[in-house]
């Protein structure tokens, strides 16, 4: 059975991973912005993840906390062992400023402007600063 290509985005707070994942979804910017606080509330603790289907791939957004490099290594080695070559992982770095804004946004999810720039730049999945 051929499995759908799967991308695992992971980041320190999970927020930029979620933004990267959402950037692959078909929704408009405002739809993505509206769903972000609700989805991110399910990614608060390290180890929590969200998975959703896109047209031709499966996306997993993972909160790796401070264990980003270990999660990366684990995904790489276990994919090779257990026939998981359809899974690729990508660590999305988060800067100090973005983490501060993420915490503020967590405390006050109504202020979506706190994370709006990242959401807009999500398509590039570049460094999230």
């Amino acid at each position: 059975m051929i499995k759908k290509p799967t991308i695992l985005y992971h980041s320190r707070t999970g927020l930029s991973a979620l933004i990267a994942g959402l950037s692959l979804s078909d929704g408009s910017f405002s739809e993505r912005k509206d769903s972000l606080p609700r989805l991110w509330s399910q990614l608060k603790e390290p180890g929590q993840f969200l998975a959703f289907e896109c047209v031709n791939r499966r996306v997993i957004c993972f909160n790796s906390g401070t264990a980003g490099k270990y999660v990366e290594q684990l995904v790489l080695t276990s994919a090779a062992l257990w026939n998981g070559r359809h899974i690729t992982s990508r660590y999305v770095p988060e800067g100090v400023l973005s983490q501060a804004r993420a915490r503020l946004f967590c405390a006050a999810p109504a202020y979506t402007w706190l994370i709006a720039p990242e959401l807009r730049w999500g398509k590039d999945v570049g460094e999230w600063m």
Binding site: L8, V71, E72, Q73, L74, S78, A79, L81
Partner: protein, 154 residues
């Protein structure tokens, strides 16, 4: 069935448990220092290898035995391991994750730190082996439980 023994660095406790499971160490008999030091991968993990999973061997029933090093933030890495099993061809019913850190002693902790972190292998490695020999009963119980679970779910 797959059994995955997990610990911090995949260098001491998980290697001992995996070796006991595949029969490289005899149960019901305390190993000697040289038995422990001769184990493959024992005290051999490098700093950049923490987080890896590798196959250690196969037991007499055909159970695949793996070793996973989960590093210092187990909450995230353990979840990632379960996620990878779920996403790969292995179902969680056919995989058993065993926490080998439950058998760790202070000697192994200190010895592991000296050997792997500070590079003082000549002091740290024998200290780890001594700690493992002293707590060998714990490893026997842990592996016996894992084997029982494998028998119940072949």
């Amino acid at each position: 069935m797959d059994v995955i023994y997990c610990c911090y660095a995949g260098a001491h406790t998980s290697i001992t448990a995996a070796a006991l499971h595949v029969g490289l160490l005899a149960s019901k008999r305390n190993p000697t220092m040289s038995d422990i030091l001769a184990l493959p991968y024992f005290d051999a993990t490098l700093q950049g290898q923490v987080g890896r999973v590798f196959k250690f061997g196969v037991d007499e029933l055909g159970t695949n035995v793996y070793v996973a090093s989960l590093g210092p933030r187990r909450q995230a890495t353990l979840a990632a391991l379960k996620l990878m099993l779920q996403e790969s061809s292995v179902s969680m019913q056919n995989a058993l994750i065993v926490n080998a850190l439950s058998c760790i002693s202070l000697e192994v902790r200190i010895g592991g730190f000296l050997s792997r972190r500070l590079g003082l292998v000549s002091i740290g490695r024998p200290m780890c082996a001594k700690g493992i020999i002293r707590h060998f009963r714990c490893f026997e119980r842990l592996v016996a439980e894992a084997r029982r679970a494998c028998h119940n779910n072949p």
